[in-house]
Symmetry: C2
Subunit: 226 residues, 2 copies
Amino acid sequence: MERLFDEELKNLKEMLLRMAGLVEQAIDLAIEALKEQKEEPAREVLLHESEINTLDVEVDETCLRLMALRQPMAGDLRFITSAMKITSELERMGDLAVNVAEQALILARLPLLKPLIDIPHMARMARAMVRDSINAFINRDEALARSVCERDDGVDSLDEQIFRELLTYMMEDPAAISRAVALILVSRNIERLADHATNIGEDVIYLVVGKTIKHHIDKKREGVPS
Amino acid sequence: MERLFDEELKNLKEMLLRMAGLVEQAIDLAIEALKEQKEEPAREVLLHESEINTLDVEVDETCLRLMALRQPMAGDLRFITSAMKITSELERMGDLAVNVAEQALILARLPLLKPLIDIPHMARMARAMVRDSINAFINRDEALARSVCERDDGVDSLDEQIFRELLTYMMEDPAAISRAVALILVSRNIERLADHATNIGEDVIYLVVGKTIKHHIDKKREGVPS
């Protein structure tokens, strides 16, 4: 019985790892589409998202089943409810990657505004945060979870900097406006991706330390250029 | 024992209702700040958000306690895990209202771009969706939950229309760019508020009907002007 439960927890972890892997790939594909003005990788993001959504439902159902049938003790219960929160975060990240891909599809048909450097850099930062947040969860690694939360500020600053730069482009050339707005939305979506990784980091700290740091971290909020 | 459990479930519902009420007020205050270029209501939004965050933590802890101590049966368990998802949605809505308030603070110091009609209209739609989604949860009202999900399209179209209109403003007058971008972000944040209410509606349908419609509804995604 105990062994079966461990087996099921392991299965749960594997599903979350698979979801995180798909999110990482979706980010890469969306950025590739954006950078190289290709439609194909953008369309692949949609397939990834659909797989992420299927896994999200499976994780939820597995968690409910584990809670109902095994009546886990406090520690395991907290782990399972954390898994339910984390799968929601990953599902939202899938949506955000799709948002980026859809902007990439719009931009693929227009002349490139400028070679993209900062946005891909920001996407790599967010991607690493996704991976680290899930590894922190799987290994109950508080230090790694904290490092994820700390890195969020760097992503926020980069988003802010990109925002200001694109405003300048728009001021100088009205013909650049729709493309610049599309890139602002891309940047904002990546910034939110990093926020969701940070949420996972906070959940992990809660899980390991047993008290909440949610709402105590002085982090910049989504969607605010300040 | 059974009676105590019912009492605790009632308490849980009341906390969620209080949170939803605070979210609704926060939306109103943010829009008032925006429309009348006042700073005071925008600052009040921050106080509301902090109260929402406190309630979010309390709801989570109540749910964990209920699950650990009462070992509820399948139906109650699903209700409690739904409550945990719903409190996260409400907490995010608080963040989004803060985003709007922060844009209002920026815009309060600048000349009004134009009298605001559509954005307050959209905010009223989103606000009603918040209220209805929570009532649908409390009363297990599937029809009301479905109506929330259906109304999301109307909000998305309005967001789209506002986006196009503001693009035109920017094209015509570069001096309008920062204000127009701020309003695009406001509109996008309200659109996301409605998305979160829709998520709650989907959770309620799942709770009542027992199967997921998540990921099956063909809804527009956040952050995509298409």
